[in-house]
Symmetry: C2
Subunit: 313 residues, 2 copies
């Protein structure tokens, strides 16, 4: 089915126009679940549904030993079923989603997913196909530097998924060609790309929160940060008009990890105020698993809440 | 979605018109799997896909102990997901079907079902809703007398599903109100109803194959049995023009279990010839699990093959 047709079907869905659909794509341990968790906490269960497309694995862990690719390869997943389920959710219909148990590495009993007003889809390959992309209103790609991600993956997979650090290192190496071929190209199709990394020319002490560059592509209408920052200038971040890798105009928001939270808070509050929601800004935003608040994560979550809660005009 | 819309969608499905969809409904141990097995064997795997809607159970066996209804109740099943999957199959799309393991009573890893040119759907409730019914080209209801079905169910569930005969008897009693409320009403919506039973006024010795009445409702166009039987009269069966329970005209085909197979074979051959298929009539038709051939089952299978293989005009 042509991708455009899905968009038409969505706008013509009987009754409601269907939920607002958000994709959070990125490689393993790129921070997808952290980003999603804060949004779900802020929206509440009545407003948000989240699910992971990695449950569409075609093979379990034992079977994967005899296939010539890793879970990152589209052929290792029921991509056409993922597309079908994304279309169903986008048109307001429930699905019976497969479940992959990361602990045991087995495929188990599927679960019912009923779309609420906001549906958050995270995973390795949610933006792999044109039809899948057509199901989303907002798309995010998480792009931490590879060494940072390797550290996150080692910490998680040894603590929660029963692997040793050596096994994780070997696995990362084995996955690299497919990450390059299938995961990272999705960055091209995201409305928002978040890249963590140190700031050149600075020698921040260990433990300084990571800085980040958030690309805000004009493929969707973001909150007017240029106006907000003009009114409340801050050392915590700056917005730079630049050219994207393909030459298109793009806004790059640089957020400085070393800056005090009070300063980025001014911008955060301005985005929240733009929403016109009576409640105070949710405290769950920006929280990492260790309980520390990360400003780039918080700002991205605020921009996403802006897209999820604002009534389209 | 209105049921008529599904029919329109089906005829407008991109590329092909979608598979021919056959439903075989009936209570537990009514003979659905036997009827399906012979058809699949006759059609071959390349031509036919079969699946059971009882896999859409919402609860596993342990969970059902604390719900106030049996697996026969629509609320005990994901009926709306069953409807969704039937629509997808009817429009030529694959599904990831849930799987209920009758041996262990658990819900397990789902499996991919890809529609071929004929899709056979059997189960307890495939005709329960209007939307589900709209997905089928041909619908069958199996209605053996309750005492016959109780015998079949006891034999199967003690041999294959780990129950005792007492447990089966208790379960049948417990299910009766829901069988009456939800299963048997589907008989009304079937194009073909097959009812086994002894013939009144005869004292056939034990072991005589069951006779059957096959209602052929003019809701679809059946092979012209009136013409076939006029040309080759036989004691093995007769066709009677009568009124259905709702007063509509219907053909009732009475097949006599005591009659020699050679005679019903004339009719069987005439139906097969009407198909114009070069191959000889498949030997798998009519075979019960014990290897004995049952003439009513064989004739129903032939009529179904006629509907499945004939190009609609």
């Amino acid at each position: 089915m042509p991708a455009k047709l899905v968009r038409i079907q969505r706008s013509a869905a009987p009754g409601a126009a269907g939920p607002t659909m958000l994709a959070i794509a990125g490689d393993s341990a790129a921070g997808k679940t952290t980003l999603t968790r804060g949004l779900v906490a802020a929206l509440g269960q009545a407003e948000s549904t989240s699910m992971c497309t990695d449950d569409y694995h075609r093979y379990d862990r034992a079977e994967r030993r005899s296939v010539p690719f890793t879970p990152l390869h589209p052929d290792c997943n029921y991509i056409h079923i993922m597309e079908q389920h994304l279309q169903l959710l986008a048109t307001g219909q429930s699905i019976l989603k497969p479940v992959y148990d990361h602990g045991s590495g087995t495929l188990t009993r599927p679960e019912l997913v009923e779309p609420t007003s906001c549906v958050i889809i995270e995973g390795l390959l949610p933006l792999h196909t044109k039809l899948a992309r057509a199901c989303f209103d907002v798309t995010v790609y998480l792009a931490p530097p590879e060494d940072v991600r390797a550290g996150w993956k080692t910490a998680r997979d040894t603590a929660k998924r029963g692997y040793t650090a050596e096994q994780v290192a070997t696995e990362l190496q084995r996955r690299e060609p497919e990450a390059q071929a299938y995961i990272r190209p999705q960055q091209r199709d995201a409305d928002i790309v978040i890249s963590f990394g140190p700031i050149e020319g600075r020698a921040d002490p260990p433990g300084t929160p990571l800085s980040a560059t958030v690309l805000l592509r004009p493929t969707i209408r973001h909150p007017n940060l240029a106006a907000i920052l003009a009114e409340a200038p801050t050392r915590a971040m700056h917005l730079k008009l630049m050219r994207d890798t393909d030459g298109s105009p793009v806004d790059a928001l640089h957020i400085h990890g070393y800056a005090p939270a009070e300063e980025s808070n001014i911008v955060a509050k301005a985005i929240w105020d733009a929403l016109g929601v009576p409640e105070p800004m949710p405290a769950s935003l920006g929280l990492l698993e260790n309980g520390v608040c990360n400003e780039p994560v918080r700002l991205v979550q605020l921009i996403l809440l802006y897209h999820l809660l604002r009534t389209p005009t």
